[in-house]
């Protein structure tokens, strides 16, 4: 790949894993995130409208959201691996998370930040179950 610079980063499952305390996770799941029950079947998750803005340095809002899926067996069609929980993000209006939900699961949608007061915007998330 002439002219390109390729760097490989090895990300280890323990050494490079940020630890949320159970209380933090519980708070994400119970208090912070918008939660949606995912019934078995094909569930397609997309950002329909909106954006999340940090209001940092005049940047505009970006259509993104962080997703945490847990509580049941799901297959993210991008990985094709059946797991009991997984993380994902949606970035942009064309980004799609297609989940083959094998067991009833829960989808949590939220953002992460260190300062909330200047945040702005919201995103509309659609979950279509086929």
């Amino acid at each position: 790949m002439e002219g390109c610079v390729v760097t490989d980063l090895k990300v280890h499952s323990r050494n490079n894993c940020y630890l949320f305390t159970p209380e933090q996770m519980q708070r994400i799941q119970n208090e912070v995130a918008v939660s949606i029950a995912l019934e078995p079947g094909i569930n397609i998750v997309k950002i329909r409208e909106g954006a999340f803005s940090y209001y940092s340095g005049g940047f505009k809002g970006e259509p993104l959201v962080i997703l945490w899926i847990y509580g049941g067996k799901v297959i993210n069609r991008k990985t094709e691996v059946e797991v009991g929980a997984t993380w994902s993000t949606l970035n942009g209006y064309d980004d799609t998370l297609t989940l083959d939900v094998k067991e009833k699961a829960t989808l949590c949608a939220f953002f992460l930040d260190t300062y909330l007061d200047d945040n702005d915007g919201e995103v509309d998330l659609s979950v279509v179950r086929i």
């Binding site: 305390t21 505009k60 991008k78 797991v83 942009g92 260190t114 007061d117 945040n119 919201e122 509309d124």
Partner: protein, 1026 residues
């Protein structure tokens, strides 16, 4: 920061029109000294934005601007915060210029301005929304002996020091002294934009006194017996220490009074949600009531001490705006780390162990009710966006085309004879020839170039009928007529300009003809003096003093050349027609002959050209109108070529060449042979569309009869037009444009059954063990969602048969059998091979729709992969969600499945998990694998490996990784938004993150978990700098 200025307003004022600039009045003013400058106008604003149905709690609107907007801002802030609980409007008054800079930098959402934007400011992406308009009064001291009337030209001359003595204005002798406002004054800047001040530097001469503060009291106190100044009318109209000077015989309480100052808000081209919400409120009836209160408060002398004491902050005094990505945030000592329980209880783990921790993992969705509530509410921003953008577009377009021809070239016209004031190129002397037969093909083609010009309110169509006659048709809302009459318009006229080879905005027309019109008859047949030339029609009012108030202008239309034929002297009539005028050109150097058409016997009329032509014109952001005239000969030819089904097609051709590329979407409407027009819904506004009329053959070939010019459908607000949607066609027909029998074909009455093309495939004929399938689900009365699965073997078969473009088709199949009858309408969407779903607009609810996925071949054959069951799109939103799919009637549909669409809102504050700075620092510096990203393009993906929460439950590892990019400026190409920081994930080996790094940033790659010890494996992330 508190307001920087105290403004004491102590007069009762007139209520000033909530106005936006009208190009018509701008033209009227331009007519006095046309120079292309953007001017102000007095017409009532057609722009109003609906009140948002909801604004999320926590929304903060940051607003800075002119001191002249203080009271309006305060009133709107109060009402806005009352209306939407939990919202905050932060106000500042650092002046218009600083506020505009702040908007551009993103430091505030809106600038409150007291003057129009300059062209340079507009070019930087700023957009203004007018909230109110104040007249600017010319004032003198109460003891000034001058009691006369001045013109705005005279005031400009006074200002510049060209008129220095009151006697020059008819008053008693004595020096005139101009009391000027500071250069930063919005009122001063507003006046400077008027044409009378254009062309020379806007400054006073030595005869002036300039007050240091933009304060009407200061101006009044300086007037004395010899001073003349200017002030917002509402601030002086009832004062006894000033005298208002009449201009053009009127006082500022008369709509015809020329000077005014706009006040409003400015945002960037891509307004923030907060800006949209605030603008939506400000322009709502509630907001407008608040504005009126503010204006009355200004006029009644509210002491702004109290106002100034309100919590107004400048952006720089607001709380730390740094996001998590910002280095500032990390260093912000206020971000105290929260006590973090480090003890890990595996039973509460949310990774693999989460399943065994019901208290964590099995969380009842707290938002279930909220979600239901959300579904019942229209999403407030989307609800707002269309009208807001409509207003934006209206604002952007308001001056387009308003630049009339240079006034010196077209003198104010009082009669039908229009002598140009300057020599113009002579039009070739034309012997009027009435063709005995049809016009040559070339002429026919040229005549097909009927175009429609449209302003957001008014439009005019000029259609060539033959080489001697054109037809003009227009639509003008009644309030527009009333407005222009109020502005002094006395007589509605149509001007016909010969614009052959010239730019009417830059050059004089070769000839001008003027025709009397009546407001009740929106059309006119126009004699064409010189054939084979280009013409433009312009509708407008002529004022008593000869000014021209333009209503609408058509684009160029080519009048075809008359064929050479013996001249019948009987038909050469050198008199003007009853409604028409005579065209003189070049100062009588050439005379354009006139033809009397109405006196001709019908049988002697030149035969009407039969071009096949079609005109598409936008009616609103959601509706366009197609009108066509199809030559019978052309239709017969295409029928001979196999044309069977007469169709209207509407193509989305935004940024493409339809001859070279497929349309983004296509709507197909079956038409009756006699139909000549149709209103068509517009799927997406602010895009370009083309209409075609033609025939579909049995083998799905498209035989085009005519194609329209491309039009841009604006993101306009939808407002009632003077005519009902169907009236345009009716009016056009009664006006004689439409040939006999023209009808609007109602949806669903296409009479020609279309059997399934033999090339269509169904599931039964595809070889895959897995069927292709497609599901169509109603999402709302205006939208549906299509999802499909098409196994590659199925697709491969159709590709082998010639399938080239994967396409989604949405058919309106109400009360028909799609296998036997053509759909009432068809939408087509080209899809990428990887696409699996699409939200599609529904134009008419309470009807049945069917979706198909398939391939279009090079020769326009349709190879179907799958067809959905018919779905009724309900008329009300409450019927939409959890709508069971109608049991399948097609082999490819999904039987007895239920489809559900859930929409939830994720709010940037309410649903944002707070990490303290220390935690973020730990993530960035201690946990994540980081990579500095120098400016450039990057492609990031998982090269190998997977992340495994643990093997206890037997799960296999999943290739995923989380990404945090910060401390720079980057664009994730999926969002295409430049940001300072962003989150992303990579899921699977095929997903890529394409980053444009504009400023050096840092990439962090990591995982999240609550329990580390059983984690296994690693992923290798490949970062390729292109």
């Amino acid at each position: 920061m508190l307001y920087s200025k105290k403004v004491l307003l102590n007069v009762s004022g007139m209520l000033l029109a909530l106005a936006a600039t009208s190009d018509a009045l701008a033209t009227s003013l331009l007519n006095e000294r046309l120079n292309g400058a953007t001017l102000l106008a007095q017409s009532p604003s057609p722009t109003s934005f609906p009140l948002p149905s909801a604004v999320p709690s926590g929304t903060t609107v940051r607003l800075d601007g002119s001191s002249s907007m203080i009271i309006i801002n305060e009133r709107l802030k109060k009402r806005f915060e009352e209306e939407f609980a939990g919202t905050t409007v932060n106000l500042a008054a650092n002046g218009t210029d600083d506020a505009l800079d702040a908007v551009l930098k993103g430091d505030v959402d809106l600038a409150a301005v007291g003057r129009p934007l300059t062209d340079e400011e507009k070019a930087r992406g700023l957009v203004e929304v007018l909230i109110s308009r104040e007249k600017i009064a010319i004032i003198v001291g109460p003891d000034n002996s001058f009691n006369g009337d001045i013109t705005y030209e005279q005031f400009a001359q006074i200002f510049r020091g060209e008129i220095t003595d009151w006697s020059e204005l008819g008053g008693a002798p004595g020096a005139i002294r101009v009391v000027d406002r500071p250069e930063s004054s919005d009122t001063r800047l507003s006046i400077s934009r008027y044409s009378a001040f254009q062309g020379t530097e806007f400054k006073t001469d030595s005869n002036s006194t300039q007050v240091s503060e933009d304060d009407t009291d200061a101006v009044v106190s300086e007037l004395g017996n010899d001073g003349i100044g200017y002030a917002i009318a509402s601030q002086v109209i009832d004062r006894n220490d000033v005298k208002i000077v009449r201009m053009h015989q009127v006082l500022p309480d008369d709509a015809r009074y020329p000077y005014s100052q706009p006040r409003g808000y400015v945002y960037t081209g891509d307004p923030t949600p907060a800006a949209l919400a605030f603008l939506g409120f400000a322009t709502s009836p509630q907001g407008q009531a608040a504005v009126q209160e503010a204006i009355q408060a200004e006029a009644s002398g509210v002491d702004l001490e109290a106002v100034a004491a309100s919590p107004v902050t400048s952006p720089d005094t607001q709380a730390d705006p740094s996001p998590v990505a910002s280095p500032d945030a990390q260093a912000d000592p206020s971000l105290v780390a929260s006590p973090d329980a480090q003890a890990i209880d595996p039973s509460l783990a949310v990774s693999p162990d989460a399943e065994s921790s019901p208290d964590v993992a099995l969380v009842p969705a707290p938002s279930a009710d909220a979600a239901a509530l959300d579904r019942s509410l229209p999403w407030w921003l989307w609800w707002l966006s269309i009208p807001i953008l409509g207003g934006l577009l209206w604002w952007l377009l308001k001056d387009r085309g308003s630049q009339a021809i240079p006034v010196d070239s077209v003198a104010p016209v009082r009669t039908a004879i229009v002598p140009p004031a300057e020599p113009v190129p002579a039009v070739k002397p034309t012997a009027t020839v009435i063709p005995a037969a049809g016009v040559a093909a070339a002429g026919v083609a040229a005549a097909g170039a009927a175009l429609i010009a449209r302003s957001p309110e008014s439009h005019i169509i000029l259609v060539p009928r033959n080489c001697r006659e054109a037809y003009a048709y227009w639509e003008v809302p009644p309030d527009r007529n009333a407005d222009l009459r109020e502005q002094g318009g006395r007589k509605l006229m149509l001007r016909l300009y010969d614009v052959t080879d010239i730019d009417l905005d830059q050059q004089m027309p070769h000839s001008v003809k003027q025709f009397d019109c009546t407001e009740s008859d929106p059309d006119l047949h126009l004699p064409i003096a010189a054939d084979d030339r280009d013409y433009v029609a312009e509708l407008g009012y002529v004022t008593e003093d000869g000014r021209w108030l333009k209503v609408a202008r058509s684009p160029h239309v080519r009048i075809p050349a008359c064929p050479s034929a013996p001249v019948d002297p009987v038909k050469l009539t050198p008199t003007a027609i009853a409604a028409g005028g005579t065209a003189l050109v070049a100062g009588a150097t050439a005379l354009v002959a006139q033809t009397t058409i109405p006196s001709e016997p019908e049988s002697d009329r030149p035969p009407v050209i039969e071009p096949s032509r079609i005109v598409l014109t936008p009616r609103s952001s959601k509706d366009a109108y197609a009108y066509w005239e199809a030559a019978e000969s052309g239709k017969a030819t295409l029928k001979e070529q196999g044309g069977r089904h007469y169709q209207l097609r509407i193509y989305d051709v935004t940024n493409i060449n339809l001859d070279q590329q497929p349309a983004h979407s296509t709507q197909i409407y079956g038409c009756d042979e006699l139909a000549q027009d149709r209103h068509v819904p517009i799927p997406v506004s602010n895009r370009d569309y083309i209409a075609e009329i033609g025939y579909l053959t049995e083998d799905d070939r498209w035989l085009k009869l005519a194609r329209s010019a491309p039009i841009r459908v604006p993101t306009d607000r939808v407002e009632p037009t003077p005519n009902s949607p169907g009236d345009l066609g009716d009016l056009a027909k009664t006006a004689g444009v439409v040939a006999a029998g023209g009808t609007v074909l109602a949806a669903g009455v296409a009479a020609i059954p279309r059997p399934i093309p033999p090339t269509e495939l169904t599931l039964d004929r595809t070889p895959s063990a897995e069927p292709s399938r497609i599901v169509l689900t109603p999402n709302s009365p205006t939208e549906a969602y299509a999802y499909w699965e098409a196994p590659e073997p199925n697709k491969a078969v159709l590709k082998e048969q010639g399938g080239r473009t994967l396409q989604l088709r949405i058919y309106d199949a109400t009360d028909i059998d799609l296998n036997q009858q053509p759909a009432h309408s068809t939408q087509m969407y080209d899809c990428g091979e990887e696409a699996r779903d699409r939200h599609v607009p529904i134009f008419v609810s309470d009807r049945d729709y069917i979706a198909e996925i398939g391939y279009l071949t090079e020769d326009d054959r349709w190879l179907k992969l799958a067809r959905s069951a018919p779905v009724r799109i309900p008329a009300t939103p409450t019927d939409v969600t959890d709508t069971p799919a109608i049991p399948a009637t097609q082999a490819t549909s999904i039987p007895t499945e239920r489809c559900a669409i859930t929409t939830v809102k994720v709010h940037s504050k309410a649903n944002c998990f707070l990490l303290d700075a220390e935690q973020m620092q730990r993530l960035q510096q201690d946990i994540a694998v980081t990579q500095t990203l120098e400016p450039g393009k990057y492609l990031i993906r998982i090269k190998s490996g997977a992340f495994n929460y643990g093997s206890a439950s037997g799960r296999v590892a999943e290739p995923l990784v989380l990404l945090w990019i910060y401390d720079g400026k980057i664009i994730n190409q999926k969002t295409n938004v430049p940001v300072g920081a962003t989150w992303s994930s990579l899921n699977g080996y095929n997903e890529t993150l394409n980053l444009d790094v504009l400023e050096t940033a840092t990439l962090c790659t990591f995982f999240f978990d609550t329990y580390l010890e059983d984690n296994q494996d690693e992923v290798t992330v490949s970062v390729v700098r292109m």
